[in-house]
């Protein structure tokens, strides 16, 4: 927990722009992340949402959890739709038809972001739209039933990368979306997790204030897909950070900054042992994961000095 004094209620804006009554699973940290992001974004925003858990749980016709203008169309085009909204606001302001420019925010899960929607996102970044893209990463295509994505971590069992007699589950390392974002030279990239709510909200505010493309990658623990009891969602996010599996950092105009560092990272097995999706892993794979986490963490630390 960050070292903040205990007057938390007074530190956060009160109003919620993501209403309860949504159909997220019990204990869903992605819903919490969306709620906190929406709280930070406030009223003056237009959201373009991709198909996925959060879109489905928040918009069963004729009800909606959204208290801000919100549009969902398809799975792979949140960034493209967002680009269109941003361009429209620009020209309508120029022509005097509109007088305000609300922030345009695109939201998508890991599937919508790093797989099917990667092209649209890359295009939006390259064109430099004033667009904040938030990826809510629960590390699989959860809404369709826990199928693997390129964000699924090594060794995780999903329905399309199941652990079996011949397989340890996912055999690829998690795709590094923040690095891909940074490779587009966009001004602001950050990782965050709802287990660290103040950091998440600060980063939303920073991203909103950024003129041009910004990318937030939010780890969203999923009790249903990761297979742990729902009350442990916040703990799971903390363990991901404390073990170095999901480092919390920012890349501002190409400069890396690690927001939470620890004198010693916790062993990765502390994190893996808590989740059913890793239960099948033999010792040598746990070691392989530890090596991989160490390697990636060292790579990240080298970038801090650059």
């Amino acid at each position: 927990m960050e070292s903040f004094a205990i007057y938390v209620p007074r530190l956060l804006p009160r109003k919620d722009f993501f209403a309860p009554g949504h159909r997220a699973c019990i204990g869903c940290a992605e819903a919490l992340a969306v709620r906190l992001v929406a709280k930070a974004l406030g009223r003056e925003v237009i959201i373009s949402n991709a198909t996925g858990c959060m879109e489905i749980v928040s918009s069963p016709f004729p009800t909606t959890s959204w208290r801000v203008p919100w549009i969902h169309t398809l799975f792979e085009n949140a960034a493209a739709v967002g680009s269109g909204i941003e361009a429209a606001l620009k020209i309508l302001n120029k022509k005097g038809v509109r007088t305000k420019k609300p922030k345009v925010v695109a939201m998508g899960g890991d599937g919508a972001t790093s797989d099917i929607g990667l092209q649209a996102l890359s295009g939006a970044w390259e064109r430099g739209h004033d667009l904040l893209y938030v990826c809510f990463d629960n590390e699989a295509y959860m809404n369709t039933g826990i199928q693997r994505s390129s964000a699924t971590p090594f060794g995780a069992s999903t329905t399309t990368s199941p652990a079996g007699k011949l397989s340890i589950g996912q055999t690829r390392w998690k795709k590094n979306m923040p690095a891909i974002a940074a490779a587009h030279d966009i001004p602001y990239v950050a990782t965050a997790c709802p287990s660290y709510p103040f950091d998440l909200i600060d980063k939303v505010n920073k991203a909103v204030a950024t003129a041009g493309p910004a990318y937030l990658h939010v780890l969203s623990p999923c009790p249903t897909g990761w297979r742990y009891p729902p009350d442990l969602s916040i703990r799971m996010g903390r363990l991901a950070v404390e073990t170095g599996v999901f480092p919390i950092y920012e890349i501002e105009n190409g400069k890396y900054k690690l927001n939470f560092d620890f004198p010693q990272l916790r062993p990765v097995r502390d994190y893996l042992a808590q989740q059913g999706r890793f239960r099948h892993l033999p010792e040598e794979e746990i070691e392989r994961i530890q090596e991989g986490v160490n390697r990636e963490y060292e790579k990240l630390k080298k970038k801090l000095e650059a």
Partner: protein, 98 residues
Amino acid sequence: MSSKHKETGLTWQDIDIGCVITSPGNAAQYKTGDWRSERAVWNKDRCIKCGICSIYCPEGCVNQDSEGYFEADLYYCKGCGICARECWTQAIEMVPEE
């Protein structure tokens, strides 16, 4: 507030153009409280009114009462137990629903 789905019984003429929903946040009529098998109960002797529970609630249904103590709106509380787990003073207990 009724938990009955409004979409049953809608005629095609009732539907707004392009299926737009014009009542922001009207999902709030849906009683997710029916989902739970246990509910969060606060012990006011231990509650220090820090609000961590209200921050971490995925439903956003934990609010302060008139005295500043926190409580879950049982219309929405899904009984996930995150608040009880995260409470610094362990002031929240998850009580099974009958």
